[in-house]
Every structure is written in structure tokens, then in C-alpha cells.
């Protein structure tokens, strides 16, 4: 029996086999979606580039070359994407900048998703005044435009990449809470939840062990689709001088720096802009693909 047959068998012999088989089927469905595969490719490339940045960058991203001779050079074989006003190689900066982008995306996902899940499932599970309090709190956060709220937080905390991440995380959990609550409402009275409750399980155990896993897939889809927005918010904060600080090669800050030269030296602002565009597109494709395979309501 080949591995593939073992995974796709109609009669799994163990729980593990069933779970792996289900994952494999999901993967097969995902793989049929070409755009999703492109998105996955881009995201994997981003991760690879971020890991290998010091080894594949041709130049130092922070220390520039000779200001007198290597400033604002157009793209050439020496500098594939040209150099900026401090004589730094733009390709190297973009490659290193991917680390910052990935850091922002990963940390925001790690911070915001659990908060959103916890608030949403708690509100949905308990209902009543707990629901009212938590959801009104969520409403307050949703009432502000995200970038403006993030700006206010960064202005209060001080500029810097850590504070930008905190600000973005604080502003991005409410949609997840809403989503998780909606999912919880549909399952909290399901038979299997009632069965666990009858067995005497504690509420925390029910939420964590049985409600959260059922909400997780739709929240993951939502988070992935939000990644592009998170990247853009981080770049926006960087553009406004409130995100990563110079000389860090943050893409948004690079665009802000290159804006002055856009008439005569287009590549300085364009290259980091393209990087943001490609990565955002990659996350969107990936998110769309994940929704197609993970969202049970969208099954064809």
C-alpha cells in the first residue's frame, strides 16, 4: 500500500490516519487552485528570503557605499535594483526588509488571533451581559479607522517597530472576535457541546477544547486575508515615520525616503513599492485559496 493510498483510504485504521488523510485531502483540494499555489509560493519565498537575507544580500543594507560615486545609481548589474540617496543597495535593503515585514506579520498574527478568539468565543459562549460588554468593547475598537487608531497608539507609545506591531495588533483583533463569536453562536447549542457539558466539563475546558478548534479554520482564513492589510498598515506607519526607524530597511519607510526622488530617480521608491505589492498579493491569493478549502460553508 503506497503512502497515498494509505492516506486516502476510506477505512482509516486509526485516528491519526484519519486526521492525516483529511489533511492530505485538503492539500489536494488546495493544490488544484493555481492562484493559491502562487500565493503559497510567494509567501514561502518571503520566508526563505527573510531567513537567508544575510547570505543572499550582495551588499550591507545599513552601511552605504561611497556617497560621492555610488549615490542614486540606476539599476545595473552591480546594483540590480539601483542605489538610494545614502548610496545603499536597494536590493539588499529589500531583502533585509523582508525580515521586518515577516516579523510584523507573524507577531501581529500571534498577538491578535488569540485575543480575538478568546474574546469572541467567550462572548458567544456565555452570552448575556458578558457578550454585551465584550461586544460593545469590540464595537468601540471597530468604530475607529484602523490606521488612525494605530497612529494614535504609536504617537502615544513612541515610534518604533515594536510599538508599531503592538499598535497594529491592538487594532486588528476586533474582526476576529466578531467572527469567532458568530461561529460560537452556531455551535454552542450543538449536541456534542451539550454532551460535554452533561459530563460536567468546565466552561473554560469547553471553550478551549471544543469551541475554539471549530472556530479556528475560519479565523485562520480571515487572518491570512488580513495579512495584506497588516503589511500595508505597517508600511503606512513606516511611510509616516512612525514605524521602523532609520536606518532599518523597512519597506514603507524606504518609499517615504524615495518619494523625494520620484521624478528623477524612480527606482528608489518603486522597488520597495513593488515588494509590498507582490507580498500583499501573495497573502491575498493564499488567503483566498485557504478559504476555498477550509471554509465548510463554501464547499462546492
Amino acid at each position: 500500500m503506497s503512502t497515498r493510498e494509505w492516506l486516502l483510504t476510506e477505512q482509516p485504521a486509526s485516528r491519526r490516519q484519519a486526521r492525516l488523510g483529511q489533511s492530505y485531502r485538503t492539500w489536494l483540494a488546495f493544490r488544484r487552485n493555481r492562484l493559491a499555489m502562487i500565493g503559497l509560493g510567494i509567501v514561502l519565498a518571503l520566508v526563505a528570503v527573510a531567513l537567508l537575507a544575510p547570505f543572499i544580500s550582495p551588499y550591507n543594507p545599513i552601511v552605504g557605499g561611497d556617497l560621492r560615486t555610488e549615490r542614486l545609481l540606476s539599476p545595473s548589474w552591480q546594483h540590480l535594483l539601483g542605489t538610494d540617496d545614502q548610496a545603499r543597495d536597494i536590493l539588499s535593503r529589500i531583502l533585509h526588509g523582508s525580515r521586518i515585514t515577516l516579523l510584523v506579520v507573524a507577531l501581529v498574527a500571534v498577538i491578535a488571533t488569540p485575543i480575538g478568539l478568546l474574546v469572541g468565543t467567550t462572548a458567544g459562549y456565555y452570552g448575556g451581559w458578558v457578550d454585551t460588554v465584550l461586544m460593545r468593547l469590540t464595537d468601540i475598537f471597530l468604530a475607529f479607522p484602523r490606521l488612525i487608531l494605530a497612529l494614535a497608539f504609536v504617537a502615544a507609545l513612541g515610534p518604533g517597530i515594536e510599538n508599531a506591531i503592538i499598535a497594529i495588533a491592538i487594532t486588528s483583533w476586533p474582526p476576529y472576535a466578531r467572527l469567532a463569536r458568530a461561529e460560537t453562536l452556531t455551535i454552542r447549542n450543538a449536541d456534542h457541546i451539550d454532551a460535554i457539558r452533561l459530563q460536567g466539563a468546565h466552561s473554560a475546558r469547553i471553550i478551549w477544547g471544543h469551541v475554539v478548534p471549530l472556530c479556528l479554520s475560519s479565523v485562520i482564513v480571515r487572518v491570512t486575508l488580513d495579512m495584506a492589510g497588516i503589511i500595508l498598515t505597517a508600511a503606512g506607519l513606516g511611510f509616516l515615520g512612525l514605524g521602523a526607524q532609520p536606518p532599518q530597511p523597512e519597506w514603507g519607510a524606504m518609499i517615504a525616503g524615495g518619494r523625494r526622488f520620484i521624478l528623477d530617480h524612480w527606482w528608489v521608491a518603486t522597488m520597495p513599492g513593488l515588494a509590498i505589492f507582490v507580498v500583499s498579493l501573495g497573502f491575498n491569493f493564499l488567503g483566498d485559496g485557504l478559504r476555498d478549502v477550509l471554509d465548510p460553508k463554501a464547499q462546492k
Binding site: 545599513i62 552601511v63 552605504g64 556617497l67 560621492r68 549615490r71 542614486l72 540617496d85 545614502q86 515610534p159 515615520g241 526607524q245 532609520p246 536606518p247 525616503g257 518619494r259 523625494r260 526622488f261 520620484i262 521624478l263 528623477d264 530617480h265
Partner: protein
């Protein structure tokens, strides 16, 4: 569907409009249009104006008692004043007003107007009032110290025998401009000397009258037919608020404006190469410097300060990032001032800097923060400095912030390094000596907070020398005193003075006669022709 033909017709007309060749824009022949970031204007009252843009507007719409030659500022001459006499004790100046001058309103200019204007500035006590009050005027004594003695004469009595050039230069500042007493008092409310009205109003006698100021939008000036000098060729001058240098450049290239006032260093060459355009520049009095806070124990070590002076590549920054916008200058008096020191003893020298750091006990460098205003120019200079400092192991962490944030921190002495730009308030050397080399009280609660105080630099001896220079009447001796002060200051101070600013503007080639002076109220478009 009976409207269909009408709709099609409308669509056709609309699309014709879209595809019609764009008409070549040109500004009217009797109107000068400038694009500039004019968001700094907060008032148009001479007693309050202390901002670059508003100073320039007042310089073209008001007149002072005296003025100076913008090419050679040591040549001082009377404007509204015909002549002045200085008493033997050097404390009383008697001014005589020129006959036959009129304000734009038609009112004649008399000694009463001059006395009113100066007393008004002292009594209102706005930001620039210190330029006058440093001579001992207060709201209580000014009526006795500045007194009218005849229809066209008045006396101006100061508390000490300051150098005459200092006294006279201070009167050339915008705060000393002559306001139309009758007109201002017509608009006075609750004894405010017309302050609320003059914020947006106009009561002067200059070549142009201020017709309108709409904040962050436009300032419109019109020719003053009662002006005593040669009649300007332009009937109207308009400042449009266009903050982005790139936008200004596009408008200039299209001919929508006559002059672009914000020109980025990297576009100077491109603009100069365009045959339809020309680039003018003039050396300004502003200087770029680093302030090293002496409250930081590392920066307080003299060798460390000295080492840092060798870790900036002055020449390269001036030739590349700031090309055409700055020249290297390393003393606190800008070129063109009495007694300005033009030596530039410091250049990038990593070996020497490392020796000095080793002597100071920091052979491997250290880490400091630098508060950097997030404008393009300051950030670029800061980044370049960060790179050269790193060559000797000094890690400079840049903390960007907007002007308000960084300045607040600087004024509270909470910074390590502050990268700043300082513009002199008037043309006398005391204006900069007063702030860079004078710190009468270094306590946290001091009332006077010059730059030396902001960097917690305690200098009782140098303060005394600066005070002595103010009282020296002989210009030659006084110049030597300032040269000596600067030579010492250059080596020992916690200020790393780097550059002097050059103001650059780009104009359509047919616009002639714009004068770029050493300070902003000297920029003059009186003589502009098209």
C-alpha cells in the same frame, strides 16, 4: 429612451473636452506667483511675526526705521529714519523721520508712528519682543525710554552702552517695523493696540500691501501706490501653499507658477539644465549643528566631543546629499556676520577620532540616541552622520519625531544628541553668541534657556566674555572678540556646527530681479519684472 440623443451629445462634448489639447498655462504678466510651504504663518502682525514665510511677507510690505545692504550687511542706512545721532554716553539714540513719507492708507509717517510701533511691540511682548526688550525695555518703563521729542524726531534710550551696530541691527528686525498708528488704533479693542485685527490685517508702508491671507492656502499682496521707492513692476504677488517640492517643480515646469521656493538638493541640477528655468541661490544665516547634552556623562568628556567632531564627513554631505543647499561652516557665527570665523578645522578623520575615544576610555565606542526631526533633509544628514560615527564604534540610534516632539524634548534637556537648524534673529553677532556661548544660569529652573542651557553646558567664563563683547563700541575690536570666542567655542563646545544654509529657488527664466538676502525679511520681489 427619448433622452438618449441628449445623453450621447453630452458624452461627446465631455469626451471632446477630455481629449482637447491642454492649453499652455501661463501666469498673468503683471502677477508674480510663488509656490512655497506657507503653513508656518501664524500672524501678520510685526510685533508677533517670527516665522520664515511671514518675515519675508512683512519685509516686502512694511518698512523699518533703518535697513542694510543685503550684499554687505555692515552698510547700514536709514529707511523711514532720515538720520540718527548717538549721545556721548552711548545710551540715547535720537532718530529723525524722513519728510513726506506715507503709509499705504494715505496717512503720513511721523515720529508718533515710530514711537507707537516700538512701544506696542514691547507692550504686546510676543515671541520676537526680546529683540527690543534685551535693551532694558519693559511694559512699565517703555513710555519713558522711547519718547517723542518733535513731530519728526524721537529718542530711544537703552539701559547700557551696547555696541551701536547691535542696537541698530535689532531695529532692522521685523519687530521694529513701523505700523500705521491711526489705522491700527481704529481697530484696537480693549487696549490691544489693534493686535487682533493686525493678525490678518495690514497697516504698513512697504512696496506691497497685504490684501489677503488664507491659512494653508494663499497670501495675496498688491502694489502699494503710496510707496516711497520706485514703483514695482508687478501689480500683484501671490504665494500659493504647495508643501511638496516635487509638486512645485511640476507646476514650475508647466508654467503654472513663476517661482518654486522649495527645491530639493537632488533636483537643482535638473532644473538648472532646463532652458526655460533658472535657479537662484543665496547664502542664508541659518546653521545646521549637533547639540551634545552635557547631562550625558559620556558626551560630557571633552575627548569624546572632540572625537565626534572628527566623525562627520562634512565635505561629502555638502557635496552630495545636501548639494547646493549647504556649505561647510564650523563656527557659530554664519558667514557675512561681523567677526564670523571661517576656519573649518574638522574633517572626517577616523584614526584621530579613535585615538581620542581611547584616551577618553571608550576605545570600542558607545551607544547614544539622536533626536532627529523627520524632515527629508535632517533625516538624510542624520543617517549620513550615523554611518560615519559607526566607523569608530559609536552607535547612534536615530529617534525621529516631528518638529514639535523633538523640540519639546530638546527644550527639556532630555536628549542625548539633537540635530538642529538655527537661524539668527537679527544681523548682529550677538544674536548667535547669546545662544551658543552664553548660559547665565545652568540650573534646571533657569529663566533664560539659550542653546548652551539646553545642552547643559555650564560656562560662566565664556558667558562673561560674551557679555563684554556686547558692550564694545569699536567694531574692529568687537570683531576680534567674537573671532576669539568662536575659535575657543569651536574646540571646546558641545556643539558640532556643520553647515550654513543656502536658500535655493527655481524661477521661470523670464522672471528677473528677485533678491535673495541673508535673512528671510531681506528676500525682496520689489524689483521683479517678467
Amino acid at each position: 429612451m427619448k433622452h438618449l440623443p441628449k445623453l450621447v451629445g453630452a458624452a461627446l462634448i465631455a469626451s471632446l473636452g477630455l481629449f482637447a489639447p491642454a492649453a499652455r498655462a501661463a501666469t498673468p504678466p503683471d502677477t508674480l506667483i510663488q509656490a512655497w510651504a506657507i503653513d508656518d504663518i501664524i500672524s501678520l502682525d510685526p510685533a508677533e511675526v517670527f516665522e520664515f514665510t511671514a518675515s519675508e511677507i512683512l519685509g516686502n510690505s512694511y518698512q523699518g526705521l533703518i535697513g542694510y545692504d543685503v550684499k554687505d550687511v555692515s552698510n547700514i542706512f536709514g529707511v523711514v529714519a532720515e538720520k540718527w545721532d548717538i549721545s556721548a554716553d552711548g545710551k540715547t539714540y535720537t532718530f529723525t523721520i524722513r519728510d513726506g513719507l506715507k503709509f499705504a492708507s494715505g496717512n503720513p509717517i511721523t515720529a508718533s508712528d515710530a514711537v507707537f510701533s516700538l512701544r506696542r511691540a514691547v507692550k504686546l511682548d510676543k515671541s520676537p519682543a526680546f529683540i527690543l526688550t534685551q535693551f532694558g525695555f519693559t511694559a512699565d518703563n517703555v513710555d519713558a525710554m522711547i519718547r517723542q521729542t518733535g513731530p519728526m524726531t524721537f529718542e530711544y534710550e537703552i539701559d547700557k552702552a551696547y555696541a551701536p551696530t547691535l542696537v541698530l541691527y535689532c531695529l532692522t528686525a521685523t519687530v521694529g517695523f513701523i505700523v500705521d498708528e491711526k489705522l491700527a488704533m481704529e481697530h484696537a479693542v480693549d487696549g490691544d493696540f489693534g493686535y487682533n485685527w493686525l493678525k490678518t490685517g495690514y497697516a504698513g508702508s512697504g512696496a506691497f500691501t497685504i490684501r489677503e491671507w488664507r491659512a494653508n492656502e494663499v497670501v495675496v499682496l498688491e502694489r502699494n501706490d503710496n510707496y516711497s521707492g520706485p514703483t514695482p513692476a508687478m501689480a500683484r504677488t501671490i504665494y500659493r501653499h504647495i508643501p511638496e517640492a516635487a509638486t512645485q517643480r511640476l507646476l514650475l515646469e508647466q508654467g503654472d507658477i513663476d517661482i518654486a521656493r522649495n527645491v530639493s538638493a537632488d533636483s537643482i541640477d535638473v532644473l538648472a539644465a532646463n532652458p526655460g528655468l533658472a535657479v537662484d541661490s543665496g547664502v542664508k544665516g541659518s546653521i545646521y549643528y549637533l547639540g551634545l547634552n552635557q547631562k550625558n556623562p559620556i558626551l560630557a568628556i571633552p575627548e569624546v566631543r572632540q572625537a565626534m567632531k572628527y566623525l562627520i564627513d562634512y565635505a561629502t554631505i555638502a557635496d552630495t546629499i545636501m548639494k547646493g543647499r549647504v556649505t561647510v561652516h564650523q563656527a557659530f557665527l554664519p558667514r557675512g556676520f561681523l567677526g564670523a570665523l571661517e576656519d573649518t578645522p574638522f574633517a572626517l578623520n577616523v584614526v584621530k577620532a579613535k585615538e581620542l575615544l581611547a584616551a577618553a576610555g571608550y576605545p570600542n565606542g558607545f551607544t547614544v540616541t539622536m533626536d532627529t526631526r523627520n524632515t527629508d533633509e535632517i533625516t538624510s544628514i542624520g543617517t549620513a552622520i550615523q554611518q560615519t560615527m559607526a566607523l569608530a564604534g559609536i552607535t547612534v540610534e536615530i529617534i525621529p519625531g516631528d518638529g514639535q516632539q523633538t523640540l519639546t524634548k530638546y527644550r527639556a534637556r532630555n536628549h542625548d544628541i539633537y540635530i538642529g537648524r538655527w537661524g539668527p534673529d537679527y544681523q548682529d553677532p550677538h544674536t548667535n553668541a547669546d545662544t551658543f556661548a552664553r548660559n547665565p544660569n545652568n540650573a534646571d529652573d533657569a529663566t533664560s534657556k539659550p542653546l548652551a542651557w539646553r545642552n547643559a553646558w555650564n560656562i560662566p567664563e565664556m558667558t562673561a566674555r560674551t557679555d563684554a563683547a556686547v558692550l564694545e563700541a569699536d567694531a574692529g575690536k568687537r570683531a576680534q572678540m567674537y573671532l576669539d570666542l568662536q575659535a575657543e567655542h569651536q574646540q571646546t563646545s558641545p556643539f558640532i556646527i556643520m553647515f550654513q544654509e543656502i536658500e535655493v529657488m527655481a524661477r521661470r527664466a523670464n522672471v528677473q530681479g528677485y533678491v535673495v538676502g541673508p535673512s528671510f525679511n531681506d528676500n525682496s520681489f520689489r524689483a521683479v519684472t517678467k
